[in-house]
Symmetry: C2
Subunit: 104 residues, 2 copies
């Protein structure tokens, strides 16, 4: 797996408090993309890599019915080892899963 990535607080120096819980959460979602996007060297995920991420890291979210499980979406991505999913599309997919499991 690729190494993880640290969100570095931007300058100026005094802005150096710790990341908030939400920033750490976003960092965690970014890191998963980097960890699993090995073939694409952090530029893209293949369907196989994304499926591995979903199975290992989204055992519950990945099965949310009301949105249509993620593996159906992965099926439509094309060649399991050649198709390329960039970060933006990955983020959108995570959003679909998030929308699916939002309960009021």
């Amino acid at each position: 797996m690729g190494q993880s990535h640290r969100l570095s607080p931007p300058t100026p120096a005094q802005d150096c408090q710790e990341l908030t819980d939400v920033e750490r959460a976003i960092e965690t979602v970014i890191n998963q993309f980097h960890c699993y996007a090995v073939k694409g060297q952090k530029e893209y995920l293949t369907p196989n890599e994304l499926r591995e991420l979903v199975v290992q890291k989204l055992p519950h979210l990945g099965k949310v019915k009301c949105v249509g499980p993620l593996d159906e979406k992965i099926e439509c991505m094309g060649d399991p080892d050649e198709a390329k999913l960039e970060f933006g599309e990955y983020w959108d997919m995570m959003g679909d899963a998030a929308k699916g499991c939002r309960r009021k």
Copy 2:
């Protein structure tokens, strides 16, 4: 602020292990929307509510230059107290901030 929301693992019962770090991260991002979407009763955020979220919860991410700071995007949303940002648009904005601070 609205109360938070728990991602409940879907049935069947044996699928009851704890959420993974990524699922908890996604849950955290969802919860912020619910916490700040008071006027819209968790259905939408107003620009003012989103600005408050960004200032309080994204002190670093919100200032990421390369994407264009979030407050510029909030400016374009319309009436600060009347315009409505639904969950999908909120998730997209968090994705913009995430894209902006991804470092290879």
